[in-house]
Amino acid sequence: MAVLSKPAVPKGSRWVHLDYGSAMTLHQATETVIENVNGLLKCRLRDWQARAVQSLLGKRDVFVKAGTGSGKSAVFQSMIAAKENGVVLVIAPLKSLMDDQVPLSSLDLC
């Protein structure tokens, strides 16, 4: 895992502790996770998706409001990369929705 050992951070940025290594700034942590996801998928998270992931890594609750079909699920799916063997619990209202996503089990990022 990429561990950024020399953090040169601007004043006031938050520090996050990830399982992957030493403490790093939120920005760097996000980069790490995104790199992770990107490495797995060979595909890039979009800016707003990265922004939401960043907030989550900072242990902040997030509302994600994005148009239908814009790739909302990528946000929580990428959170599995935030920890080693990270688990994400998804509460979804409908059975059909879950049935649809699980057999595919894909990260639709593109």
């Binding site: 509302f63 209202p93 059909s96 049935d99 699980v102």
Partner: protein
């Protein structure tokens, strides 16, 4: 798109039953992605409670909790109780960040979700562009009644292959109607293409259908075998079929709100490369009955933005049971533009507050529920706005890209197409042209000459003084009828005068101008030129057409009375002649009760049934055969009284029962049985059977001279012998 194989699981009832190990595996964090419904996690026997409270791997590895389609807490909280307890999960995992995702998150819903899910305040909000650039939206008036003609037209008569039908999801409100519509459509498909598999081409999808069939439908949709899918709301979340060309919302009721509509529309054209279409069929009662305020008018002379109606004026359309406040709909035409931003904000605050109030139980519906209460106001706004519908959606959901119209790939929505002056006939997507939209239809309130019957070149003969006075009487009788109707519907107060419907001087004008009037639209023009604004009056399009029909019938009848079928009965004619010597009414004369009563009676007796039919036929023709209107109740009642086939009330004690056609009256059948027999010779049982039937038969027998009320009352007492005696007595002695 790359697929990543992750150990994922959906905790559904079936899966839990099949694999008892599932919870243990979950506890050992063997799954990376866990999908679950609130019910499975939070019901009283759920093992998840143990996992939540204990120390385990799942707890250690949990990186985030996501709440997908989080807007459903709003609507589901009422009937899925576990939804209100979601906050408990949060309480057990206080350090795990929570993400709530939805495409439809208006502010009031966001704060509600925050409260229910125990999210931190403030939470971060991440928004991205919400505009669906490749979907065109069109709103069409749903034909009144139960006709499904527009749906049947989805399968054209000359279809050669089912693959030529664009892939369409049709959203309806109940499983029952989904099934019924699908059956009907399959029947049609079998008629046109008997060799194709109609079961596969037309599918249904709703929550109670079994899983195997659901999966089958889903697969058939994926491989493009299924072309039309009738579905309920269960299809509207998360379903990701890339190439759905059309989404049709069939009807708008209180079950649909703005959020669910946006979700449904969002099912179309998930693949950004293709162009999708969303069609919303809304009942007329939810659409503004008059031409809309233009965007310019909104800046100069805006209608008041309000949801409160102190007068409680109702405008009820008899085709649709849901009453709608006529005045309110005016303010729903507000377009979303940069100039009107302030107004839009104000408007939305009303809307959010109202929604919030309804959730908090502040607004409790006491008394008759109004459509503005039952239908989501945002939805009314979406249907009636004169501006871009995409903007309306985005503005309501507070997306940042409200004004980025330039991203839109096609003509955007019906209103935009008009704004851009596109040709309505050629502007179409997937077989729906803008011409069919309500925006186009409402551009001209009254049927234009294009669609109506051809006008005669020559004007009619000038009207004689007698005809003129008759016309006055007719119109006044009609006005009285309309006034009563409006009073009975509580549109206006009884304290008002009938003149409010149509002033007397206007009647005089119309009558004098009638030789030049050949079409309802001419009549409307005449009224308009006399500074009578139909849009603001109590008259509706239908009423003007009606009025025209009455005038025309009278003029035709007076010009050649012998040629008309079914001349009125003799005493009717006597009254007509009597009426014809009445003096011409003065313009400021307001009719007295007796005056109008006689006029009503006159018109009821003198108008033959054929006229009604003719008028109805003409109205249908004018409306381009699109709308098949139900005959108004008053007219039906009047027509049955006017019917000339009924025998006159006899003076002698013996009369014959004449046969009735089936259409005439509901009880016609039983009377037909009695046809040809004299009433005195009828056995009591037969009278019984006809009397116990209501409506037509009773009226018929009354015409035949029986006192139905007495007979049926006696019959109801169920005392055999007495009944027979009494009814025989009645029949024998009915002459006195």
């Amino acid at each position: 798109m790359t697929a990543l194989e992750l150990p994922a699981v959906a905790l559904t009832k079936e899966n839990v039953k099949e694999d008892p190990e599932i919870w243990a595996k979950l506890e050992r964090a063997e799954y990376r992605l866990v999908y679950a419904s609130p019910e499975i996690l939070l019901n009283s026997k759920s093992p998840f409670k143990k996992i939540m409270t204990g120390e385990n791997k799942f707890r250690d590895h949990l990186a985030a909790i996501a709440m997908d389609e989080a807007h459903s807490v709003w609507s589901n909280g009422e009937f899925r109780k576990e939804y209100n307890k979601i906050g408990a999960i949060r309480a057990y995992f206080p350090k795990v960040p929570w993400v709530a995702l939805s495409a439809t998150f208006p502010p009031h819903l966001m704060s509600f979700c925050q409260k229910v899910c125990n999210m931190t305040i403030p939470s971060d909000v991440v928004t991205c562009a919400g505009r669906r650039t490749n979907i065109n939206i069109i709103v069409i008036e749903k034909p009144a009644g139960k006709t499904i003609r527009p749906l049947l037209d989805l399968i054209p008569d000359d279809l050669e292959h089912t693959g030529l039908i664009p892939k369409t999801l049709i959203f309806v409100d109940s499983c029952k109607s989904a099934r019924r519509l699908a059956q009907r459509m399959r029947k049609r498909l079998r008629q046109i293409l008997p060799s194709f598999n109609s079961e596969n081409a037309i599918r249904t999808y709703y929550s109670t259908i079994d899983n195997r069939k659901k999966q089958e439908t889903y697969n058939l949709l994926k491989i493009s075998e299924a072309r039309l899918v009738f579905c309920t709301d269960s299809m509207s979340l998360g379903v990701n079929i890339p190439d759905v060309a059309r989404v049709i919302q069939w009807g708008v009721t209180k079950k649909v709100d703005m959020n669910s509509l946006v979700q449904r529309i969002g099912r179309a054209a998930r693949n950004q490369e293709i162009q999708g279409l969303a069609v919303v069929y809304a009942p007329k009662s939810l659409l503004r009955p008059v031409p809309k305020h233009s965007a310019a008018e909104w800046t100069t002379n805006p209608p008041p933005v309000t949801f409160d109606d102190p007068d409680g004026e109702l405008w009820e359309d008899e085709d649709d049971p849901a009453p709608v406040k006529h005045r309110d709909l005016a303010c729903f035409s507000l377009p979303v533009t940069q100039d009107l931003q302030e107004k839009v904000d104000q408007f939305q605050r009303h809307m959010y507050r109202k929604a919030k109030a309804s959730k908090d139980g502040v607004v409790n519906t006491v008394g008759p529920r109004k459509a503005t209460d039952t239908i989501d106001p945002a939805l009314l706004w979406f249907l009636n706005t004169v501006g871009c519908r995409h903007r309306c959606i985005l503005s309501y959901l507070k997306y940042p890209d409200v004004f980025d119209d330039s991203n839109q790939k096609s003509w955007c929505c019906d209103n935009c197409a008009f704004g851009k002056n596109l040709d309505p006939q050629t502007t179409n997507t997937e077989g729906f042209s803008v011409q069919s939209s309500y925006a186009f239809a409402s551009g001209s309130t009254l049927p234009s000459s294009k669609v109506g019957p051809a006008r005669p070149d020559n004007p009619r003969r000038p009207i004689t003084a007698t005809t003129s006075s008759l016309l006055h009487e007719d119109v006044k009788a009609w006005r009285k009828g309309l006034f009563d109707k409006l009073v009975s519907r509580r549109v206006i107060s009884r304290a008002l005068n009938e003149v409010i419907v149509l002033p007397d001087d206007l009647i005089a004008k119309v009558v004098t101008a009638f030789p030049r009037i050949h079409h309802p639209s001419d009549l409307a023009d005449t009224l308009q030129s006399a500074k009578f604004d139909i849009k603001c009056s109590l008259l509706r399009e239908k009423d003007v057409v009606d009025l025209f029909g009455i005038l025309q019938w009278r003029v035709e009848r007076e010009s050649r009375p012998a040629a008309l079928p079914h001349p009125p009965p003799s005493n009717g004619t006597a009254q007509t002649t009597q009426a014809s010597v009445l003096p011409l009414p003065v313009s400021d004369h307001s009719p007295t009760i007796s005056d109008t009563q006689s006029a009503t009676a006159l018109i009821q007796q003198s108008l033959p049934r054929s006229t009604i039919r003719e008028r109805k036929r003409r109205a249908e023709q004018i409306e381009g055969g699109k709308k098949k209107r139900r005959q108004p109740l008053a007219e039906v009642r009047a027509s049955s009284q006017r019917n000339n086939q009924y025998p006159e009330r006899p003076n002698s004690s013996v009369c014959k029962v004449t046969p009735v056609s089936r259409r005439q009256a509901d009880g016609g059948k039983s009377v037909n049985k009695l046809a040809g027999k004299t009433i005195t010779s009828l056995p009591t049982s037969e009278i019984h059977s006809s009397c116990s039937l209501s409506g037509g038969s009773q009226r018929h027998l009354r015409y035949a001279g029986c006192d139905i009320a007495k007979v049926s009352n006696e019959l109801r007492s169920k005392e055999g012998k007495r009944i027979i005696k009494a009814s025989q007595k009645l029949i024998d002695g009915k002459g006195d």
